[in-house]
Amino acid sequence: MKCRRCGQPAVIDVRRHNAAFCADCFVHHCREQVKRAVHDFDMLEPGQRVLVAVSGGKDSLALWHLLRELGYEADGLYIGQGIGEYSDHSRDATVAFADAQGWKLHEIDIRGQYGFDIPGAAFATKRAPCGSCGLSKRHLFNKAALDHGYPVVATGHNLDDEAAVLLGNVLRWETGYLGRQHPVLPESRGFARKVKPLVRLGEREMAAYCVIQGIDYMVEECPMAAGNKHLGYKDMLNGLEEQSPGSKAAFLFGFLERGHEHFAVEAGEEREALGECRECGSPTSNDDLCAFCRLRERAQGVDAPVELGPTRRRRNRGRHSPSRPTSAG
């Protein structure tokens, strides 16, 4: 295959665009897709200060890199979830990247600062770890943005993430979630503005961007993700994509252009009705404790039994034994 842009030998094909690119032109392609997303959804002001949620994975490191390349004053925020060795490695990858680039990284350690961790929270609530993890990350990320005065926060959700979430929401007709699923959530009382500049780029493109740019991201997966239903949705969508390239983008962007507005009203009304958490002051629907403070209350000091922490178990058994994630998620 030849590069669509310059005719040199290609290193990556992007079938959705019926194109292949050499390394340089692929980097150009990624920048253009981010520029276009930022422009189409009116995400950021030129050169704006932005807080990027970084996990050490491909999407968040690529996002941080791309935003810097495009001239934004982007700083990182890493949240330590206490998921055994996986969290140790993700922190190492994030810190090494930030140090090498000389970029500012804020850090929050949930166990150190709030007295619980994600495996413990999953055990205490008897719910899938991704639920506790997502709500903690959203809460802490938002709080950090407000505390440090960032006008906008950016997350590395890519086209595949958003299409999988959309499929999940449609399968259950979660009208409230559908109303809130958008690449931009405007600022409102107690909530920082949130943007997803990678929505026009697929997961495979983000991994390729890191390989080409020499970004040493963490390939290892979170052990708590095993069995997560979004992995199944991504698999199904990739089956469709392989048969009919462009399916994922058509599904997501069709919704954003023609479907989203029909659900947005309902989500707006829900946001209006918010009270304040008596513990931390965050917006909450019940005028008592917000979801994060409730989770903290239940999970503080709880240690998940070994089955919920495969990375810890692996650490105990020695580094080279295979990890067998249990049915989390």
Partner: protein, 68 residues
């Protein structure tokens, strides 16, 4: 050729020459869900792989409903 797979990490020995697409088909891997890396360079699905090549098949699908 040596083929490295990840998550979990394991190594296979597969006879070359072949193409990227044929290799993935043989291993029942959807090309949309991985990158194929020869040495340290990405290769496209039509690339020919020689018996002496070192290949990595790297999954790109991240789990979890709430990536950072």
């Amino acid at each position: 050729m040596k083929v490295l797979l990840r998550n979990p990490r394991r190594e296979l020995e597969i006879e070359g020459p072949t193409t990227v697409l044929a290799l993935l088909k043989r291993l029942e891997i959807n090309p949309e869900s991985v990158l194929v890396i020869r040495g340290d360079t990405l290769v496209t699905r039509d690339a020919r792989l020689a018996d002496a090549d070192d290949i990595e098949i790297r999954p790109v699908i991240s789990g979890g409903s709430n990536p950072a």
